[in-house]
């Protein structure tokens, strides 16, 4: 398919089909809307105690979903203006950075478009926590401070969409995306036609270890349960990352797993793996790993690739049982104050030259076509281009799995009640 075909094919897509059809919902929104007004009326009208008593409910997150359903997204986008600035919440070390901490690609963007970027790379340390922070504001229909944020595919992503917290992205405003997005991210399993998101990076979750601190070689998740690694292993606290290990070890495909699979996985994690685990980490694992807090850790491919220059003894493993592949996505909240500016950035990012500059610093997997070539030819960075961590061979890629897929709250509650105790320990 040529670039033009893609553009035409998708440009014709009518966003209005989204109205009401996007996802099934347990209850209608009318009730929740009333809650909204009840709360507001109470604050305005009554004294403190009275308001607490009358507002004896916390409004659900589905409130704004109806409003989102009713939105004509073409009109919504047509009504937005460029404001010359936007703010961007991202994970740490997830954009190019010079030695002093400046971000050259953002500076170039500002130079070219006149749009100033407030970039917060301390904002997201863990998907669930970040979602927990922004959800109340989004539920109240208030801005969250960021016009663009990066969210991993998973339950929180689903929640953001289901609750109508994020804007559908007008394809007319992101021609570069349609032209340059890699086939694999054009319509990912968790977001049909990338309606609400544009992938920022993809990556793999495997095992990393300091070979100088570990006897023998590690090739599988099962290896982590060896008695000799007691208190040497770090795992992710994120349930999606953790659960998939237990499932893969048991030979289950995470995305199609069932409750009983989860229970078996949790059982393996608690009884086999946990005794060797020193700590469950979020984003902070890398710092701890670098300072040799632990010898072995569950790790994200790009992080390890990036530190191997300084830590040549660190090895990364794509475990035999299989490993996770994930996608971090740029999303725009419906309450954003500068959505068009953020959209401009998304479109800008989907240029091979821009994405390559960024990619050559963060070393994950870019969603933009031609990046590998560009880095090989223009930037000339063989370390990245030839790395199996960034570009695993096809036989390894065959073992890559998507996360457990959860579509509704009840399932999610079951899921968390099974895996949370593993993380929080006993």
């Amino acid at each position: 398919m040529s670039a033009d075909d893609k553009l035409n094919g998708r440009g014709a897509l009518d966003l209005s089909f989204l109205r009401g059809a996007a996802k099934p919902r347990a209850t209608g929104g009318g009730m929740s809307r009333r809650n909204l007004f009840r709360g507001a009326g109470a604050v305005a009208g009554a004294g403190a105690l009275a308001s607490v008593a009358s507002a004896c409910s916390i409004q659900g997150t589905q409130t704004s979903a109806t409003a989102a359903d009713a939105t004509d997204w073409y009109a919504w986008w047509a009504g937005k203006k460029l404001n010359g600035q936007f703010s961007f919440d991202n994970w740490a070390a997830y954009i190019d950075q010079d030695k002093n901490g400046n971000h050259p690609s953002l500076d170039t963007f500002t130079k070219k478009t006149g749009i100033k970027v407030t970039y917060d790379d301390a904002a997201v340390t863990d998907t669930a926590t970040y979602y927990g922070k922004i959800a109340p504001s989004l539920a109240a229909g208030k801005p969250i401070g960021a016009d663009l944020f990066v969210m991993t595919n998973g339950w929180e992503f689903t929640e953001l969409v289901n609750n109508g917290y994020v804007a559908a992205l007008d394809n007319k405003l992101r021609p570069n995306f349609l032209r340059n997005a890699d086939e694999s991210v054009l319509s990912p399993s968790y977001d049909f036609n990338s309606t609400y998101s544009a992938v920022w990076q993809s990556g793999y979750t495997g095992i990393a270890y300091h070979s100088d601190l570990v006897d023998g070689e590690i090739t599988s998740w099962e290896d982590l349960t060896k008695a000799q690694y007691k208190n040497q292993v770090a795992m992710f606290g994120s349930l999606d990352e953790l659960s998939q290990v237990g499932l893969l070890v048991n030979g289950v495909t995470p995305s199609s797993s069932t409750k009983s699979d989860w229970e078996d996985a949790a059982d393996w994690l608690t009884n086999k793996l946990s005794p060797n685990v020193k700590k469950f980490y979020d984003q902070g694992y890398l710092d701890a790993f670098k300072s040799k807090q632990m010898a072995i850790t569950q790790a994200w491919s790009g992080d390890i690739l990036a530190i191997q220059a300084n830590f040549p003894k660190v090895k990364f493993v794509f475990p035999e049982e299989g490993f996770g592949v994930w996608h971090d996505n740029m999303m725009i909240p419906v309450t954003a104050e500068n959505p068009l500016d953020a959209m401009t950035w998304i479109n800008y990012y989907y240029q091979t030259s821009v994405a390559s500059v960024i990619e050559d610093w963060i070393w994950y997997k870019s969603p933009v076509v031609g990046v590998r070539e560009y880095i090989r030819k223009v930037i000339d960075d063989p370390d990245y281009v030839n790395s199996e961590l960034a570009f695993p061979p096809s036989d390894v890629l065959a073992r890559a799995y998507e996360y457990v897929s959860i579509k509704d709250r009840t399932t999610y509650d079951t899921y968390t009640s099974i895996f949370n105790p593993v993380v929080q320990g006993s």
């Binding site: 740490a92 950075q97 002093n100 863990d126 984003q283 890398l286 300072s291």
Partner: protein
């Protein structure tokens, strides 16, 4: 003491004891506490020294490493390269100043009421203040969040300020009440006796006399507010204060610039404290 030394002495051995025996015991007794003190202060200063040293260490990917990699001033020269650091810092300073000011404005009259009057409900007020002090930050923060959630409030600058004032009031009132009680009621009565209305009396007598207490209370509130992480983390919404900002870096590798800010604040504070000490010493 002397009795015991006398009775115990002969057991040391036969014959008259040489007077030098006594100072032999003394220095050991005297050295123990100073050494202990020095040990503790060293323990307290270690992380501060680390902060200063690491702020000059060459970072990797703009995160500090505990291994010395060479001296550099880069982080200081690019203090604002890490986005948001200045905003977070000034937000913290502004909230701390505002919450200190509001707590003093609210707390001073309350401290006056509590130290100068007997009235029904005084006990309730005292219990509220005690409760405020004895509530853990995590409870204060999470309760405030629960409250704001049920009122459908948006978290941000305002909610941080509101909650900071709420926990600062107790400390301000306690500090000022102690000061006012120490000062006694006589002077204000004397002012009234000499024809000053309560308001005039307050401004001509009470205020000048409790001014040092007000400054102390303000500084206490300022310090509590500017360094608060736990409470703020519940009610900050999208507003970022310096402790929250720094906490973000504990997850992803500390940027040297954060340590530079820490070092600069530390040096300025130490200088101010030193200056204040000098001024106080000069004054009679």
């Amino acid at each position: 003491m002397s009795d015991q030394t006398l009775t115990r002495r002969p057991t040391f051995g036969p014959g008259p004891l040489h007077p030098d025996d006594i100072p032999e015991v003394k220095p050991r007794r005297k050295l123990g506490l100073p050494l202990f003190y020095c040990g503790i202060v060293t323990f307290l200063l270690i992380p501060i020294v680390a902060m200063i040293v690491y702020s000059f260490n060459v970072p990797t990917r703009n995160a500090i490493t505990p291994v010395w990699q060479g001296f550099t001033l880069d982080a200081y020269l690019n203090l604002f390269a890490v986005q948001g650091i200045a905003e977070a810092f000034f937000t913290s300073v502004a909230i701390a100043a505002a919450s200190g000011l509001v707590s003093v404005l609210i707390g001073l009259p309350m401290a006056l009421a509590l130290s100068r009057y007997r009235f029904r409900g005084k006990g309730v007020l005292n219990s509220m203040i005690f409760l405020d002090i004895s509530a853990p930050s995590i409870v204060v923060g999470s309760s405030a969040l629960a409250f704001f959630l049920s009122l459908n409030f948006t978290m941000g600058w305002t909610t941080i300020l509101i909650v900071h004032v709420a926990f600062n009031i107790a400390y301000v009132v306690t500090t000022l009440r102690a000061r006012l009680s120490g000062m006694g009621q006589n002077l204000e009565q004397a002012a009234g006796d000499l024809g000053a209305s309560p308001l005039v009396g307050f401004f001509t007598v009470t205020l000048p006399l409790v001014a040092p207490g007000i400054v102390a209370a303000f500084l206490l509130a300022f310090a509590m507010s500017i360094d608060d992480y736990v409470i703020t983390s519940f009610v900050n919404g999208s507003t970022e204060t310096f402790p929250l900002y720094a906490y973000g870096f504990t997850k992803k590798g500390m940027a040297p610039q954060v340590l530079c800010f820490g070092t600069i604040v530390f040096v300025v504070a130490v200088c101010l404290a030193f200056l204040n000490g000098l001024l106080n010493r000069r004054r009679p």
